[in-house]
Symmetry: C2
Subunit: 138 residues, 2 copies
């Protein structure tokens, strides 16, 4: 049923090198995750995958271009990469800089989109629901 990581990379036009395969095994196992380059690098090194931060960045972008990941922008500083490539939206926990999927199963949807402007097409509609601890606690 499932292609090996090697084959998925090949199909995506990426040579299955050691580090790509290793990172792919961490990311493309079907779990829904949101990683930063930094965090993935730490994780890889901890898993005895010798890889440089620069290569992690390269790999994340290559995977994203290949449609294996999706990049999510929530705050001006760091970038998050989402292993869930299907249509879904996010909660963003402001005080802890954390991103959570709003499952596809949720009935969330955007209604009443106006006409798309002149010669443009929609690549994606991002919905981010920003959350903070309720009331008292701040």
């Amino acid at each position: 049923m499932w292609e090996s990581v090697e084959n998925r990379l090949r199909i995506a036009g990426l040579r299955p090198t050691r580090q790509r395969v290793a990172l792919g095994r961490l990311l493309l196992d079907g779990r829904d995750r949101h990683v930063t380059a930094e965090a993935l690098h730490v994780e890889a090194v901890a898993a005895s995958i010798p890889v440089s931060l620069a290569t992690v960045y390269n790999t994340l972008h290559q995977f994203t271009e290949a449609g294996l990941l999706r990049e999510v922008a929530v705050n001006g500083s760091k970038s998050y990469f989402d292993t869930n490539v299907s249509n879904h939206h996010h909660y963003y926990i402001e005080n802890e800089n954390r991103l959570i999927d709003i499952g596809e199963t949720s009935s969330i949807r955007v209604e009443g989109l106006p006409e798309t402007p002149h010669g443009m097409e929609i690549t994606h509609v991002d919905v981010v629901v920003r959350l903070r601890p309720a009331a008292g606690r701040r």
Copy 2:
């Protein structure tokens, strides 16, 4: 009908200094704009308002905290400040890094939001419709 920029700053608890007033005049004239710190700095200098980039950053953040501006995160790198503080959403033109308001008049709305998690409250729901030139052109 309209408060002067000076008074709006005073009301917001900000001392109406030269540069705040000058930047306020550029930003708070009722036009809907999306500026980056860099762009605003260039604009200010061009308008013979001697102000440093650091002060532009400070001012943008102070205005944002005071509710005079809203910060919009669309891509991992730079921050945009929106002079339209009311409830509305955005188009983001990917290939030219440009942000456009989807007017409040549009019937856009988000339906079927799931229960907000445990002890959290929504600060804001951001909708970004990402656009690129249609079909052929790329």
